[in-house]
């Protein structure tokens, strides 16, 4: 039996209840409404809302069915056996001023042998000496006993040639610029890139994952427009802008077009808009300028204003590999961050020795070789324009020219015909090969390359053959 409920308890309860009612009356009106609303919401959620369907998990059987059903594409797409890449000319012997195909000799206007160093006796002798001292391979990357004293010598010579503080060499021309750009430019940075750049540079730009702003080929006004736009954008958020690096990626002499970049104006804009210039001088090294030092010499621009010049040892120098020169501040970074340098075996010493000897020859010749080359290029240019019927792309002093037919006549088929015809007359020329995923695929063209040792008669002969081919192909 519990304690009896006496009058006091009931009275107390009543007072509590009464005070509760009183407090209700005293609360603000909105508070009451709010509480009622909440209670109604809870009631609605509990009673009336439809339950969301739970995501169906696949059963093991269904998963196995999906796995069994899945069919991949074939590893490679069907191959066209008539593709020119599967039917290339196979050469024999030294690919110098003349080449030998199936026993016949023909004049070579197709390979990047600007200074005719391929097959040069002095260079071959030095390469042989290097094999007798070091063997062939370097058997290691630069960091792990792959640095041979001949590499250090080559780097120093290249830096001295360009009058820069330091140089760095790579073992493959394609990988040079493709490794350099990602070493400096990261995800948040901006690259201003000319549309007509070479594929290797495009790969470098892609690998960097930076924001890319393309400007029309050699169009300085378009570049200015892009720079001004970016500047306006920066002024809105100056704090963020101070963490974004900017680079201008250009070539000295464009491989795909044969024309020279407007460097002086680009250097002016550099100081106005505060970007760094990385110039790729693969084609212009050893071909343009009084002493072959490239576009900076040609335009008479202070070379120290360019942050980095990259180039290749595969064209005028006639060896294999690539290099970059610049101030120590810029170049030294690549020794730990450029992938193609750190994670790849170093250049075989015989190729480094060949490059050093080529530089020696270039130094000895000083200006004679290069002036001759520019002179002959000018004459060839004039002769080609005289043929009338070809479009000739490229500067007149450029030893690399692009030849194409006028307008709608310009198809790969016709150009192939011209190349084949020229071969029957013992002139070797080639169509410039591109892959379809180029950013800005150039028009089909024949890439004509002038060897400095070509005589006037040989140039005349070339033009005669081209004239005949033109007549045949437009008939």
């Amino acid at each position: 039996m519990g304690s009896p409920v006496n009058r006091d308890d009931i009275a107390r309860l009543a007072t509590d209840f009464y005070s509760l009612l009183e407090s209700f009356k005293q609360t603000p009106f909105y508070h009451l409404i709010f509480e009622i609303f909440l209670i109604l919401t809870v009631l609605w959620l509990v009673c009336f809302r439809k339950p969301r369907p739970i995501a169906k998990k696949l059963t093991e059987k269904e998963k196995q069915e999906l796995i069994d059903e899945w069919q991949p594409e074939p590893l490679v797409p069907p191959v066209d056996t008539n593709h020119p890449a599967l039917n290339v000319r196979v050469l024999d012997g030294i690919v110098g001023k003349t080449i030998e195909i199936d026993g016949r000799k023909s004049l070579n206007f197709a390979t990047f042998n600007f200074l005719n160093f391929v097959g040069n006796q002095r260079i071959a002798d030095k390469a042989i000496q290097a094999v007798q001292k070091y063997g062939v391979g370097s058997c290691g990357p630069r960091g792990f006993y792959g640095t041979i004293d001949i590499h250090l010598e080559l780097e120093e010579r290249l830096a001295r040639f360009f009058n820069f503080e330091e140089g760095i060499i790579y073992s493959y021309g394609f990988s040079t610029i493709a490794s350099i750009i990602p070493a400096y430019s990261k995800r948040n940075d901006i690259l201003f890139v000319d549309e007509g750049i070479h594929y290797a540079i495009q790969k470098g730009v892609e690998a960097s994952r930076s924001t890319v702003k393309w400007f029309r080929h050699n169009d300085i006004n378009d570049l200015e427009r892009l720079l001004a736009e970016q500047d306006k954008h920066d002024k809105k958020n100056p704090k963020k802008a101070s963490t974004i690096r900017r680079f201008l990626i250009i070539e000295g002499l464009y491989m795909n077009y044969g024309d020279i970049c407007p460097l002086p104006r680009m250097v002016e804009l550099k100081y106005k808009y505060k970007y760094r210039i990385f110039m790729d001088e693969s084609v212009s090294f050893g071909t343009i300028g009084q002493t072959g030092r490239g576009v900076t010499e040609y335009h008479n621009v202070d070379r120290q204003k360019i942050d980095l010049i990259s180039s290749t040892l595969e064209y005028s120098v006639g060896s294999i590999g690539g290099f970059a020169v610049g101030s120590s501040f810029v170049i030294d970074h690549q020794r730990l961050s450029a992938q193609g340098y750190c994670f790849s075996a170093s250049l075989p010493p015989l190729l480094a020795a060949a490059a050093i000897e080529a530089l020696n020859i270039m130094d000895e010749e000083n200006s004679l070789l290069f002036e001759t080359l520019m002179d002959k290029s000018k004459r060839l240019h004039k002769k080609l324009l005289d043929i009338k019927g070809y479009r000739v792309l490229g500067e007149d002093i450029s030893p690399l020219k692009h030849l194409s037919l006028a307008n709608s006549l310009n198809t790969i088929g016709r150009l192939e015909y011209i190349v084949e015809f020229a071969q029957t007359r013992d002139i070797t020329i080639t169509i410039a090969r591109y892959l379809n995923d180029e950013h800005h695929l150039p028009e089909p063209s024949i890439r004509l390359i002038l060897n400095v040792e070509m005589t006037d008669e040989e140039l005349e002969f070339l033009c005669t053959v081209l004239q005949e081919a033109l007549v045949k192909v437009t008939a």
Binding site: Y172, Y315, F329, D332
Partner: protein, 520 residues
């Protein structure tokens, strides 16, 4: 070449080398001992101290109390700084202290012995000067597995002839005017050596991966890549635009789980089925010394209809009783591997890379490869070196040089690994791989081991972060067929000394024993 000729030193030991220790049933036995707690502790402490000193020194440099070493920007102020200061923190304060252990210039053939150019530093590794002397050392750092790095002999003669007849370069892309008869010869020999239908060669091993993976896979494809894959494979995968998923090193169960999950779920967001699935593995992993589990991989690949890309950079020539790589070692069918890739830098002592497989694959690569279209073709003397080595390796005669070298390497590997392990070092990797990593753990030991061994006339490669995980710094011995038993014994004795100095021989599985007790 008579077996018992007293002319060359290693000839008298090659008799032992002919008992090839590669058993009929290849071993699956790889042992990775756990990191001892004390080592982990001291290593972390090491990094903490380095960091503290680093901050302190950076403070001094910023306050101009200490001279800022290294070069400075030559652009006027207003340009965004070229490097983030924290990126170079590690370089300035950790790497720079031990920079004398890396980038050592050599002045000779990178063979069994090496001539290092002696260099001294006045300012704590910021700059070096050459004294002009050369230090002769035993070379355990170069990738010269079969010992073909020579500057004399028949192969060198062939190379010299090739320079005379074909020059040093063709200066043109392979699709334009750069294909020479030697390139075709190399490719057909390579196909014969590997047992595939066709092969194609390139001028740089790194570029072979980076420029050709994008031609095989693209958007809408899946790449399953091993955790420890080389940078070139990672770069190639990234450039291709495919979705990349990483599985734990050599973990076939994880790989199968990923395969099942991703085939079922399809492409991200759209859930469309994948166009292709490519599994990328390496034959021998150069930092771990481990082998890929090829039979299981082939089984998985067949079960799930994926394609297999095998990068044999370190294993071609070095593994297998016939020197044909891991496929030969595991006795698998070479047609089961879709894409065989390798390099000529290591066992062939040349430069370059190759891809081998079915004819349609190679034809497609000839048409679509970045290297074939834009890059200059391989240098003829280098091609000649590879052709000469291939001719020796294809020759199955046990008396001839090719087989001798393969067997010598196998014997050296077996001998060195056994003795090193018995001496108490913690050694990683597969018992038959010629890459022998022994653990050092802390960055200071990395530097100390390197310098002490150099004092004793042995050139080794020691690596730390970021090439390896933070705590697992190691020394990596690369064995070669040009090492004689005496050279290996000398190295082991020195390693024993230095190991005691640095307190390295802490294996629990193989408690340390002195050198003379570990005779085989």
């Amino acid at each position: 070449m008579a077996k018992n000729s007293p002319k060359q030193k290693n000839k008298s030991y090659s008799n032992i080398g002919f008992n090839t220790p590669v058993p009929e049933h290849p071993s699956l036995n790889e042992v990775y001992e756990d990191t001892p707690f004390s080592e982990a502790f001291w290593t972390y402490l090491n990094y903490v101290i380095l960091n503290i000193f680093g901050w302190f020194r950076d403070l001094l440099r910023n306050a101009r109390i200490e001279n800022r070493k290294g070069s400075a920007e030559n652009n006027p102020p207003g340009f965004v700084p070229l490097y983030q200061s924290y990126e170079s923190f590690y370089t300035r304060n950790v790497y720079q202290r031990i920079a004398d252990c890396f980038n050592r210039p050599i002045g000779s053939v990178p063979g069994g012995t090496l001539d290092l150019l002696e260099r001294v530093t006045d300012d704590y590794n910021w700059s070096f000067n050459f004294t002009g002397d050369k230090v002769k050392t035993i070379n355990l750092g170069s990738y010269n597995y079969l010992g073909f790095a020579n500057n004399s002999g028949q192969i060198a003669e062939n190379v010299i002839n090739s320079i005379k007849t074909s020059g040093v370069s063709a200066a043109s892309a392979a699709q334009e005017c750069g294909t020479l008869t030697q390139h075709r010869k190399l490719e057909s020999l390579l196909a014969e050596f590997l047992g595939t239908e066709d092969a194609i060669a390139f001028g740089m091993g790194f570029a072979t991966n980076a420029l050709n993976i994008p031609t095989l896979v693209g958007k809408g494809c899946l790449i399953l890549s091993d955790e420890l894959n080389h940078t070139s494979l990672v770069l190639g995968s990234r450039l291709s635009g495919a979705v990349i998923k990483v599985y734990k090193h050599n973990d076939m169960i994880h790989l199968e789980k990923l395969l099942r999950d991703y085939i079922v779920s399809g492409q991200p967001r759209t859930h469309r089925p994948w166009r292709k699935i490519l599994i990328i593995v390496e034959g021998v992993y150069s930092m771990e010394g481990s082998l890929c589990k090829l039979p299981e991989l082939i089984e998985l690949k067949k079960k799930y209809k994926a394609f297999l890309y095998l990068d044999e950079a370190h294993s071609i020539g070095a593994m297998g009783s016939r020197g044909r790589g891991v496929v030969d070692y595991w006795k698998c069918d070479v047609n089961d591997v879709d894409i065989l890739m390798g390099t000529f830098t290591k066992s062939f002592a040349a430069a370059g890379g190759y891809i081998a497989g079915k004819k349609e694959l190679i034809d497609h690569i000839r048409i679509a490869s970045h290297a074939q279209t834009y890059a200059v073709s391989m240098s003829p003397p280098v091609v000649e070196q590879v052709i000469s080595v291939l001719n020796l390796l294809i020759d199955e005669n046990e008396e001839h040089e090719g087989r001798q070298k393969i067997n010598q390497l196998a014997w050296n590997t077996h001998y060195f690994r056994q003795r090193l392990t018995k001496m108490g070092f913690i050694v990683y990797g597969h018992p038959h791989s010629p890459v022998v990593p022994a653990l050092l753990y802390s960055p200071s030991k990395i530097a100390a081991f390197n310098r002490e061994m150099l004092k004793r006339g042995v050139a080794v490669v020691t690596v730390g972060f970021p090439a390896t995980p933070l705590v697992l710094g190691r020394v990596r011995f690369c064995l070669s067929a040009s090492h004689t038993k005496e050279m290996l014994d000398e190295v082991l004795k020195h390693a024993e000394e230095v190991g005691d100095l640095l307190n390295m021989r802490k294996s629990k599985l193989n408690p340390k024993r002195p050198f003379h007790e570990t005779e085989l």
